[in-house]
C-alpha cells in the first residue's frame, strides 16, 4: 500500500532521471570537502552499490519491501526432496569439497538431482550454491554470538527499520517514515521474541539457501521495476514489481531452495541489460551501451552455472534477438562480447572439470543416465542423427586437439537442441496439453498420484490470475495486424526501403522480442514434460510470470486503465487480500477441505476472476469505458494471487519452522481453526 502511495509522490519529489536520484540523494547533509574521509568513501561505495543493485532509492524500497513480505510465510525447512540435494551439496562445499559425502539432510544421498560420478556424489546448480556461501558464512557468524532462533527475526526487523526510513525519504517525509519504521520494527521484533522458539544451527545451511533465494527474488523484482521504470515510468515499474512479487508464484518459490528465483533474476537482468544496450548513453552512466550488451551475455554465462539447459535456452533467445537488431556487430563489439561471455563461463567450466573432468559436461547431464526417460535420451539420438554426413568428415579432417571439443559441443548441442525439437514436436502433435499447463489443471491422471494423491497442481492462470491481462497484448496484436493488412501493399514497400540492411528496433521493442523469444524457448524446453508432478505452479515455466507481467505493463490500454483508476485497483487488492484470505480460510475450515481441495478452491476462484479480467483487458484495447472495471478486476486477480501466497505459506503447506515465530503462531492458530 505504501509503495503505491509512493508512486504518486515520487514522480514529483524525485524529479528528473532514475539514475540522477541515486547519485545525489544518499548523503544527508555532509559537505563534500576536498579530502575524502572514511565516511565519504563509505557513502560513495554505498551509493554506487545502490545504483548497481537496485537503481535508485525507490528501487531500494521495492527491494526491502519484497524481503519483508516474503519473510511473512518463510518456513525454514525442506519443501520437496530436491532441496536435500542442494542443502547437502552446500554443506559439502562449505566444508571445502565438491563431493557430497554425508547426508546431513534427508534419509540418504539418493535424492533427485544428486549425481554419481566415479564413485563420488555431486549436487547440481553450483552457481546458486556458491552464491549462497556468503549468506551461510554470515548466518554462521551471527549464530556464533546471537541466539539462532532470533537471528531471522532480528534481520527482518532491521529490514523494517530500513524500509520505514527509505519509504519516508521517497515520500518526502523522512522523519515520519523513520519513526514509523522504527516503532513497527520494535513492536514486531518484541512480538517475535515473545513467542520465539529455538532454531537448531543444523538448519542454517537450509536457511542460507532460502536467504539467497529471497535476495535473488527481491533483485528480480527490483530489476523489473528498473526496466519498466526506464521503458515507461517509475509508477509503472513499481506497480509491475508489486504485482510480480505479491501476486504471482514468484513469491511462492521465493523462500524455497530451488533454482527458479535465481534463474528469474538472471533472466530479468538480461532484459534490463539488453534495454540499456540499446538506449542512448547519458554522461553519468556507469557502463556504456556496449558494456550493457556484454553484461547481458555475461549473465547468460553465469546462468549456465545455475542450470546449463535453461541457460542455453536463454542464450538462444538472446542471440536470436540481439545479433540481428544490434546497432553494430563490428569486430570490436564482438570481441568484447566474446571475451565477457567466455570469462563468465569460467566458473561453469571449472566446476564441470572438477566434477566430471569435462568442461562441457555439467552435473545435470551426468544425472541423465539415472533418468533415461528425460529429454536427454531423446536429444542424444537426435544429435547423432543430425551429425551424419558432412560433420563427421569434417571432424575426421580436424586434428584431435580441435576435434575433441567440436565433438563434445555437437554432443551437448544434440542434447540441448533435442529438447527444443521434442518440444516443437509435442506442440504440433498435442497442442491440447497447453490447456493443462496454462488454463485448467484439476485432477490430472499421473500428476495427482505422484503429488501424494493430492490435486495440488495449479496451471499458470490458476496460480496467477493476473497473468490473464496478456489478452490485451493479443487484442493489440490483432488490431495491429488488421491495420497492417489493410495498408500492407504500400506500407510494406516503404518499410522495407527504410529498413535496408539491419532491423532498427526501438530499445523497448527489442526487449519485447527477447521476452517473446525467451518464453518460447522455455516453453519448447519443457512442454513435452508438462504437466508434471511436484510443479505446484508450473515452476518449470517460472520465468513466464515476470515476463507476462512485463507484457501486461507494456500494454498502453492497461497502463491507461490502471493509471487512471489505480486507487480502485489498489483498494480492491487490499480488500481482496484482507477479506478474501479470511473467506478462503472459512471455506476451507467449514468444508473441512483437504489440502488438494483447498488448492482447487483457489484454482476455481482464480479462473473465474481471470476470465473476467481477460475479457476486460482485451476490451480495454478498443474502449476506455470499462477502465474502472478493468482496474477492479485486475486488483481482484492480484488479490487472489496474494491470497494463495499467504495461505499456501501459512496454512496449506506447513512444514519446518517459521522464520518469524509470530508467523508460526498465526499458522498454529489457522491450523487449529
Amino acid at each position: 500500500m505504501t509503495a503505491s502511495d509512493a508512486v504518486g509522490d515520487s514522480d514529483a519529489a524525485a524529479g528528473d532521471s532514475v539514475a540522477g536520484d541515486a547519485a545525489t540523494g544518499d548523503t544527508p547533509a555532509d559537505d563534500h570537502v576536498a579530502n575524502p574521509t572514511l565516511g565519504d568513501r563509505f557513502s560513495t561505495v554505498r551509493s554506487v552499490a545502490l545504483r548497481v543493485f537496485v537503481g535508485d532509492r525507490l528501487g531500494l524500497v521495492v527491494f526491502l519491501g519484497m524481503l519483508a513480505f516474503v519473510a511473512l510465510y518463510w518456513r525454514v525447512g525442506i519443501f520437496i526432496t530436491d532441496n536435500y540435494t542442494l542443502a547437502n551439496a552446500l554443506v559439502a562445499l562449505a566444508d571445502g569439497h565438491l563431493a557430497v559425502e554425508e547426508a546431513v539432510f534427508g534419509p540418504d544421498l539418493e535424492t533427485p538431482g544428486m549425481v554419481l560420478h566415479e564413485g563420488a556424489r555431486y549436487g547440481r546448480n553450483y552457481g546458486q550454491i556458491v552464491f549462497t556461501l556468503p549468506f551461510l558464512w554470515g548466518l554462521e557468524a551471527l549464530a556464533a554470538v546471537a541466539d539462532p532462533g532470533l537471528i531471522l527475526p532480528m534481520l527482518w526487523a532491521l529490514v523494517l527499520v530500513a524500509l520505514g526510513r527509505e519509504s519516508g525519504r521517497v515520500l518526502g517525509r523522512p522523519s515520519l517514515g523513520t519513526v514509523v519504521g522504527a516503532v513497527c520494527a520494535l513492536v514486531a521484533f518484541a512480538v517475535n521474541v515473545a513467542v520465539a522458539r529455538p532454531l537448531t544451527p543444523r538448519l542454517l545451511p537450509v536457511a542460507a539457501l532460502q536467504v539467497s533465494a529471497i535476495v535473488a527474488t527481491a533483485l528480480a523484482v527490483v530489476t523489473l521495476y528498473r526496466l519498466l521504470g526506464r521503458v515507461h515510468d517509475r509508477r509503472t515499474g513499481v506497480a509491475a514489481a508489486m504485482v510480480v512479487g505479491l501476486a504471482t508464484p514468484v513469491g511462492f518459490w521465493a523462500s524455497l531452495p530451488k533454482r527458479h528465483a535465481v534463474v528469474v533474476a538472471l533472466a530479468l537482468g538480461i532484459c534490463y541489460a539488453l534495454f540499456r544496450s540499446r538506449q542512448s548513453p547519458s554522461p553519468d552512466d556507469l557502463v556504456s551501451p556496449l558494456g550493457f550488451r556484454a553484461i547481458a551475455y555475461g549473465l547468460v554465462g553465469l546462468s549456465t552455472w545455475v542450470h546449463g539447459g535453461e541457460a542455453f535456452g536463454i542464450f538462444l533467445a538472446l542471440i536470436a534477438v540481439d545479433v540481428p537488431t544490434a546497432r553494430s556487430n563490428d569486430v570490436r563489439s564482438l570481441a568484447v562480447l566474446g571475451a565477457v561471455f567466455s570469462v563468465s563461463m569460467i566458473p561453469f567450466f571449472v566446476t564441470n572439470v572438477l566434477i566430471s573432468g569435462n568442461p562441457l559436461q555439467p552435473p545435470r547431464v551426468l544425472s541423465s543416465f539415472q533418468y533415461p526417460t528425460s529429454g536427454a535420451g531423446v536429444g542424444g539420438s537426435t544429435g547423432s542423427a543430425g551429425s551424419g554426413g558432412l560433420v563427421p568428415s569434417l571432424i575426421d579432417v580436424l586434428p584431435p586437439i580441435l576435434a575433441t571439443p567440436v565433438i563434445a559441443v555437437l554432443d551437448r548441442g544434440g542434447v540441448f537442441f533435442g529438447e527444443f525439437i521434442t518440444g516443437a514436436n509435442t506442440l504440433a502433435s498435442d497442442p491440447g496439453r497447453l490447456y493443462r499447463v496454462f488454463v485448467r489443471g484439476g485432477d490430472i491422471k499421473g500428476v495427482s498420484r505422484l503429488n501424494l494423491s493430492q490435486t495440488i497442481y495449479l496451471t499458470v492462470l490458476e496460480a496467477a490470475p493476473i497473468v490473464a491481462g496478456v489478452t490485451a497484448a493479443y487484442a493489440t496484436g490483432g488490431v495491429r495486424l488488421s491495420q497492417f493488412v489493410h495498408r500492407a501493399p504500400k506500407n510494406l514497400v516503404t518499410r522495407l526501403r527504410s529498413r535496408s540492411g539491419a532491423f532498427k528496433m526501438s530499445p523497448a521493442v527489442t526487449v519485447d522480442a527477447f521476452v517473446v523469444a525467451l518464453a518460447t524457448s522455455f516453453l519448447l524446453m519443457y512442454v513435452s514434460e508438462l504437466p508434471l508432478h511436484a510443479q505446484l505452479t508450473v515452476r518449470y515455466l517460472h520465468p513466464f510470470y515476470p515476463l507476462a507481467v512485463y507484457g501486461i505493463a507494456r500494454q498502453a490500454p492497461l497502463r491507461r486503465a490502471f493509471g487512471t483508476h489505480w486507487q480502485a485497483g489498489l483498494w480492491t487488492w487490499v480488500v481482496g487480500v484482507l477479506l478474501g484470505s479470511q473467506l478462503f480460510v472459512v471455506v476451507v475450515a467449514a468444508g473441512s477441505l483437504g489440502r488438494g481441495e483447498a488448492v482447487q478452491v483457489h484454482a476455481f476462484a482464480g479462473l473465474a476472476v481471470a476470465g473476467v479480467f481477460a475479457t476486460l483487458a482485451a476490451t480495454s484495447v478498443f474502449t476506455d469505458r470499462f477502465d474502472r472495471a478493468t482496474a477492479v478486476a485486475g486488483g481482484l486477480a492480484g488479490a487472489l494471487g496474494t491470497d494463495f501466497l499467504l495461505l499456501s505459506g501459512l496454512l496449506y503447506f506447513q512444514y519446518g519452522q517459521y522464520a518469524l515465530p509470530a508467523a508460526g503462531w498465526v499458522a498454529d492458530l489457522l491450523a487449529t481453526a
Binding site: 554470538v145 539462532p148 532491521l158 527499520v161 526510513r165 523513520t178 521474541v193 520465539a196 522458539r197
Partner: protein, 120 residues
C-alpha cells in the same frame, strides 16, 4: 534529523542486542525455549526411584491362569517442567512377555505414581 537518526540507531541497537543477550556467548537469558505444550514435552528432576525387587505370579481366582502382580513403583521428583511422561515397563524374557504403561506426570512437586500392571 538528529532525532530520527537517534531513533534509527537506538532501534537497531535494541534489535541487535537482544539476540546477543540470549546468544551462546553472553547467554544472560534464554529467550528461545522450546514451548512445553505437548504431552511428553518437558523434563523432571528425579530424586529417587523405588522400584520393587520382586514381582509375583498368583493363582487367579477360580481359574487355571496366573496373574502377574507387580507392586507399585515410587518416584520422588523434585521438580517437573512441562508434561514429561513416566513409563513403567516389566519384561520376562523367558516368557517373551513384556508390558509397559505410560502416564503423563503432573506438575506437583511430590508426585506418586500408582501402577497396576495389567493382568495376563
Amino acid at each position: 534529523m538528529d532525532r530520527s537518526r537517534l531513533a534509527v540507531w537506538g532501534t537497531v541497537l535494541v534489535i541487535c542486542s537482544v539476540p546477543v543477550l540470549s546468544g551462546p556467548v553472553v547467554g544472560l537469558v534464554d529467550l528461545t525455549k522450546a514451548p512445553l505444550d505437548g504431552i511428553g514435552d518437558g523434563s523432571a528432576t528425579v530424586d529417587a526411584v523405588e522400584a520393587p525387587d520382586t514381582a509375583r505370579f498368583d493363582r487367579a481366582l477360580s481359574s487355571d491362569s496366573y496373574v502377574l502382580k507387580v507392586p507399585d513403583a515410587r518416584i520422588h521428583v523434585a521438580a517437573i517442567e512441562g508434561r514429561p511422561l513416566v513409563s513403567y515397563k516389566i519384561s520376562i524374557p523367558a516368557m517373551s512377555y513384556s508390558r509397559a504403561t505410560t502416564t503423563p506426570a503432573g506438575s506437583r512437586s511430590r508426585w506418586r505414581a500408582r501402577r497396576s500392571p495389567p493382568t495376563g
